[in-house]
């Protein structure tokens, strides 16, 4: 395997991009990531993006987004209808083939242009589930209820996760929401879909993120402390909610195992958990000990950009390794209903 590292990361998140179109808010992020990488735009070997046209309600919106990158003279480019974390995986594979030495990866989304919870219903079984239009929060609530009934946690556990996340988000300039409420204060608020309250569900917004990847010697030559990808894996559970044990995330367990999460201590973990109970499920799936600092950014609960959030989780870990505040960490991304698909990326500094 070739050594591949994240050498730069940039992000932009807001509750609502009411003026700028995707290109207008993506371009500064891409430019910032490229400038910080120390590699010229024209020298980057591959470009891969993650987005969904359903969020914009516009066909081929992902092609228009290339205006932010500069695709002339023609570039090697690809796109996944997935979170940018999966675009990162494709770019990592591309570098593994030896065809390229570096890659630009970005993810972007306007989750606030429509009702994200309804748009996501279109990703369900089109015959028997989508016609019922289950809201994403409702599906997550079914999972949270099963999790509580199985004795894995309580509503207070949810409040504790949310309280800790909102406090952590106070020091994150990219957070959409933050707060210093105690669990008791949060428990006094009304349900959205019981047992979930509004603060237990991700704060959706608009935004983008970008990272630059580079292989071994190139990464070392442009970056004093690259965030090396020591393991990366993604797995999928069945799409049908009825055939899964919703209180677990077997695909996250397997991806974590294959990525080598447990091989050494993990200083920091950024878990893409758009609902509070999912953080607990993922923490268990990845076998993270109490000593691991989980979601120091506040996580998806405090700022959720659909199609970018997973790449941001990996980027948040990379950022801490690049700056030397962490040595080994794990970034996680999810997609699909109730943690159906999971990607785990283990990063390490030298």
């Amino acid at each position: 395997m070739r050594d591949v590292a994240i050498i730069s990361f940039a992000q932009s998140v807001s509750a609502r991009e009411s003026e700028r179109n995707e290109v207008e808010f993506l371009m500064p992020v891409v430019r910032e990531a490229i400038a910080a990488s120390g590699i010229e735009r024209s020298e980057i070997g591959f470009t891969c993006s993650g987005s969904s046209d359903f969020l914009q309600g516009q066909p081929f919106a992902f092609v228009m987004a290339l205006d932010a990158v500069g695709a002339w003279p023609p570039i090697r480019e690809s796109h996944v209808e997935q979170d940018g974390a999966w675009a990162l995986y494709e770019a990592w594979v591309k570098i593994q083939t030896g065809e390229v030495e570096s890659a630009l990866v970005y993810g972007f989304g306007k989750g606030a242009s429509g009702d994200l919870g309804e748009i996501l219903a279109l990703s369900l079984d089109p015959y028997c589930v989508t016609p019922l239009w289950p809201h994403a929060d409702s599906i997550a609530a079914l999972q949270a209820r099963a999790w509580i009934e199985a004795g894995r946690g309580t509503e207070r556990s949810l409040a504790e996760i949310t309280s800790r996340s909102r406090r952590a988000a106070r020091s994150n300039p990219h957070a959409i929401v933050s707060g210093d409420e105690t669990p008791d204060e949060l428990l006094a608020r009304p349900y959205v879909a019981s047992p979930l309250r509004a603060h237990d569900c991700a704060a959706n917004g608009d935004g983008a993120s970008a990272v630059v990847l580079a292989a071994g010697d190139l990464a070392r030559s442009v970056c004093s402390r690259p965030a090396w990808i020591r393991g990366i894996d993604h797995r999928v559970d069945p799409a049908s909610l009825g055939v899964r044990d919703l209180t677990r995330a077997p695909s996250a367990e397997l991806a974590g195992l294959r990525a080598g999460v447990g091989r050494d201590r993990i200083d920091v973990a950024e878990l893409y958990a758009p609902y509070a109970h999912q953080e607990a499920i993922l923490r268990q799936a990845l076998g993270l000990p109490e000593t691991t600092n989980v979601n120091p950014s506040g996580g998806a609960l405090c700022g959720h950009v659909m199609m970018s959030c997973g790449l941001q989780r990996i980027g948040e870990v990379a950022r801490r390794i690049l700056s030397g505040t962490a040595d080994r960490g794990v970034g996680h991304a999810t997609h699909g209903p109730a943690l159906q698909q999971n990607l785990v990326c283990v990063l390490e500094g030298e």
Binding site: R31, Q56, A71, S113, G114
Partner: protein, 162 residues
């Protein structure tokens, strides 16, 4: 065996709050006051009309606003013979790609007031606007293009776009 289920009906309706973006919003507001605004790339100096806020070739934001003229040159065309929802032109009609004077890229519209067999590359046209009181922030404020009567533009002047 029972008859197979050959189709199901599942109505889908999603509402979006669409944002054209800052650059295109300025363009549309310009149209509402009889003015066609493009944006110039600070690197390659190409003028984008309508602007989307960036130069896709240079990957830099375009900020300098440039007013272009409402006259231009047909760089390519097609005779449309199939009806389409929301199109009010009588069939058949000529859809054109028109390079406005001062613009660096052509955009699409329709040419009228000319026999279809005379529509040609190089034809000089000008915009026919709706009545001043009907001007609004929409490309439909330009009803169509019509021949301007000027001599045809030489091929060299638009070869990059045809």
């Amino acid at each position: 065996m029972a008859d197979p289920v050959k189709s199901i009906v599942t109505p889908i309706r999603l509402e979006y709050d669409y944002t054209p973006g800052r650059a295109t919003s300025r363009f549309l507001r310009g149209i509402a006051r009889h003015c066609i605004l493009g944006q110039e790339c600070p690197k390659c100096h190409k003028v984008y009309v309508p602007p989307r806020g960036s130069c896709p070739a240079c990957a830099v934001p375009t900020e300098r606003e440039v007013e272009v003229r409402d006259t231009g040159t047909v760089v390519t065309f097609s005779i449309i013979r199939v009806p389409s929802e929301n199109i009010h032109f009588e069939l058949p009609y000529a859809a054109i790609s028109v390079l406005l004077d001062g613009a660096g890229i052509p955009f699409f519209h329709v040419v009228q007031d000319i026999p279809l067999d005379q529509v040609r590359m190089g034809l000089r046209v000008r915009a026919r606007w709706v009545a001043t009181e009907a001007l609004a922030p929409t490309i439909a404020s330009i009803e169509c293009f019509v021949p301007s009567g000027e001599p045809d533009a030489p091929w060299e002047s638009f070869r990059e776009h045809s």
